[in-house]
């Protein structure tokens, strides 16, 4: 592990520590060489919201090296999928990124549908898009509040939870589950939207816009917040892309890349008009700002989708027992945390032969050792919070 390496390559600390150790016999330098402190952030630590363990080597408050240790929550989903049928798997993959479960189901169902040559009816595609955007809003609203909490402001976190609750109620109203809807079926959706749901969604969307204004004033507009996040944890665009960072984290580094627009067309995204937000700076503040704008953009998208919602069935004609023909397919979507993809290999059975899950957070945290070198301990928390990962999405 790199924690045992010499820390001398950290910026600003070009001290030849070995030279000092040679002099240590003279007793005088024994007290000058204070040594490094290795501290475990996690696996139980409030900043890692879950069980991420970060082995941090400190010189005073400055981080010399940081190693994320993952796997404390590994649940073996890739293996489990080999023993489940396609309809059963949506229940599992719901729990990868538990804050935006619905968005997890979409790429997998997309993959299965493409292998089978089935296409969901337009109404189903629209409702899927609406629910995906709603889960994006739910995830981001919580982030907008929780980032404040990580920086020490207690109050925004409660606003985040409060306003997310409206969206979760909508998801529950449509699907029956607040967190784990399991609403997608291969070929469409389980049910149509309930009566009155559309009007309710419109009123909630205006609440979300108000919440975004609140967060802009209370958190993003706060001088202390600015001084804590500006210039902290800068990810240059090309380095971020090289590490596989995706989603809002990469767009905050000025990379104009969004699978909803640039990827293989999926759901109803080609039919609606939306903007992809980027920020040139790549620091923690720009990651917050991009998510704030994307929340507003999602609200705009949901309203557009509600206006253009076509009539018709929500389920295509599919056989009662689903058998997927032989083949391989890669399906990826723009999830709230970034690029999420499934590589599904089918051998013609009722379940897949092999599924490779590409989850966004796993790649997003892989940049941590590079990013945390030379920052102070409080900035570690800022950077962790602004990268916004979900442990289930890292460990799977």
């Amino acid at each position: 592990m790199s924690t045992t390496e010499s820390p001398a390559n950290a910026p600003g600390f070009e001290v030849d520590r070995d030279a000092i150790r040679h002099l240590a016999d003279a007793q005088i330098n024994v007290e000058l060489d204070t040594g490094d402190m290795i501290i475990n952030l996690g696996p139980q630590h409030p900043a890692t919201h879950g069980t991420l363990r970060l082995v941090v080597r400190l010189d005073g408050e400055r981080v010399l090296a940081a190693d994320p240790v993952i796997g404390y929550m590994h649940r073996g989903y890739e293996k489990l999928t080999e023993f489940r049928t396609y309809p059963q798997i949506t229940t599992l993959i719901n729990r990868i990124d538990w804050l935006s479960s619905f968005a997890n189901e979409v790429p997998f169902v997309d993959a299965a549908e493409r292998l089978m040559g089935v296409e969901a009816p337009p109404r189903a595609a629209y409702i899927r898009t609406i629910l995906t955007e709603l889960s994006r809003i739910a995830t981001f609203v919580l982030f907008l509040g929780e980032m404040g909490l990580q920086l020490g402001a207690l109050t925004p976190a409660f606003y985040g939870f409060r306003d997310r609750e409206h969206v979760l109620n909508l998801i529950e109203g449509a699907t029956g589950g607040r967190f784990h809807p399991n609403f997608n079926r291969i070929g469409g959706l389980k049910d149509d939207l309930p009566w009155g749901w559309i009007a309710e969604t419109r009123s909630v969307m205006s609440k979300i816009l108000t919440a975004c204004d609140t967060f802009e004033d209370l958190v993003a507009g706060n001088e202390i917040f600015l001084s804590r996040t500006r210039g902290i944890g800068v990810i240059p665009g090309e380095i971020g892309a090289a590490y596989g960072v995706s989603g809002s984290n990469l767009r905050a580094s000025g990379v104009d890349w969004d699978l909803r627009r640039d990827g293989r067309p999926y759901l109803a995204y080609p039919e609606i008009d939306f903007q992809v937000w980027t920020h040139p700076d790549g620091d923690s503040f720009s990651r917050y700002w991009v998510r704030l704008q994307e929340t507003r953009e999602s609200v705009r998208m949901v309203l557009q989708l509600l206006d253009g919602l076509p009539a018709g069935p929500v389920m295509a004609k599919v056989p009662r027992i689903i058998k997927v023909p032989e083949g391989e397919v890669w399906a990826e979507t723009e999830n709230p945390l970034g690029q999420m993809g499934y590589y599904v290999v089918s051998k013609g059975a009722t379940g897949p032969f092999r599924v490779k899950i590409r989850s966004a957070s796993f790649s997003n945290v892989s940049i941590l050792p590079w990013l945390l070198k030379g920052v102070y301990v409080p900035d570690v928390v800022t950077i962790l919070a602004s990268l916004y990962f979900i442990l289930g999405d890292i460990d799977r």
């Binding site: 408050e61 207690l154 606003y159 001084s227 301990v377």
Partner: protein, 343 residues
């Protein structure tokens, strides 16, 4: 005190009585501030109710219940801890608070000891709590605690200065360091010849008042200056290894010190126990209530900031003290001195 109560009691009994009363003020103040601000005001700001059940009326009994729970908890001490230091640290923190209350006047006669150097003494003993914090952090044998304690030491020492400079302006204007004398100076003062409400120093020393509140916030390690206990990075800083009764001591110390600083600010800038047109015996009865109301106002300002702001980073916090607050304090002192000589 003895004359107003119309009772003849010996000085020993008086001393014991005073000590008991002051000792009672600390947990009482901690309870009131904790309930009003931590449980109720914070909940209101965060659009939730807070505790509603214990005690029947808006959960007033919650903190008492919490305290009793803490008393029942197992007293856990880390194996590597420096046992004696670990055990003494919470007491040091509470004792420093206790010593501050000794000089805060609550009425013309209601003061344990009106020292000539009252302000000086209050600030000196209040900074004793740093030692308690350092002891706790070091003796815990925990890296988080150590980081927290070192942060606390750096911060508390840095913010002593602005605190002192803020108070110096008041001392110059009042011509005395005795807290009782400062209260009288405000009660008997006049605003441009009109002595209707006296002259609370917040009118002339509003810069000093702001400085004092900001620096007191840092001394109390409350947000935005709560780096030492930063729960999202150091978990609870120097308190991380403390449980049960000892943790309760830290809690009482935290809110008791908040009460003490709010009372000091109320005394120095808002006229303390004095109420216009109330003199003599009536002031002795009304004094504590008046002081309490003013104290709650100051505490409200401090807790308002606490629940709104994120926290500063350690280097930003030091920069604020040395580059902003201390120069402002020095200029304020200079201006006060010039006015003092000129008028």
């Amino acid at each position: 005190m003895t004359t107003t109560l119309a009772l003849q009691i010996g000085w020993g009994t008086t001393l014991a009585l005073k000590t008991v009363i002051v000792l009672a003020i600390i947990p009482l103040g901690a309870l009131v501030l904790g309930y009003v601000f931590l449980l109720k005001m914070m909940s209101h700001m965060q659009s939730r109710l807070g505790p509603m059940d214990p005690g029947g009326f808006h959960g007033w009994f919650q903190l008492v219940g919490d305290g009793m729970k803490f008393l029942q908890k197992e007293d856990i001490m880390p194996e590597q801890a420096d046992k004696r230091v670990f055990a003494t640290a919470p007491a040091v923190v509470v004792i420093s608070t206790f010593l501050v209350f000794l000089v805060i006047p609550m009425g013309p006669d209601l003061v344990v000891k009106d020292l000539d150097v009252g302000v000086f003494y209050a600030l000196a003993v209040s900074s004793l709590s740093v030692i308690g914090v350092l002891m706790a952090g070091w003796a815990s044998a925990n890296k988080y605690a150590l980081l927290g304690a070192l942060r606390a030491a750096g911060q508390l020492i840095a913010y002593e200065l602005p605190l002192l400079l803020a108070v110096t302006g008041v001392v110059v204007q009042a011509n005395t360091m005795s807290l009782q004398g400062i209260v009288y100076a405000q009660q008997d003062g006049s605003i441009f010849g009109w002595s209707g409400v006296g002259n609370p120093f917040i009118l002339t020393q509003f810069v000093g008042f702001l400085l004092f509140v900001v620096a007191a916030q840092a001394e109390l390690t409350q947000t935005p200056f709560d780096m030492p206990v930063a729960e999202s990075e150091l978990v609870a800083g120097y308190m991380v290894e403390y449980t049960g009764f000892r943790f309760l001591f830290f809690f009482i110390g935290e809110f008791g010190t908040a009460t003490a600083f709010a009372a000091l600010a109320a005394t120095l800038f808002l006229g303390g126990w004095s109420l216009p047109w109330v003199h003599g015996d009536a002031a002795n009865w009304l004094g504590p209530i008046v002081l309490f109301v003013k104290l709650m106002f100051v505490a409200f300002l401090m807790f308002w900031a606490r629940f709104t702001y994120p926290r500063l980073r350690e280097d930003q916090l030091q920069a604020l003290a040395w580059k902003v607050l201390i120069p402002i304090g020095l200029v304020n002192l200079l201006v006060t001195g010039v006015f003092k000589v000129a008028f």
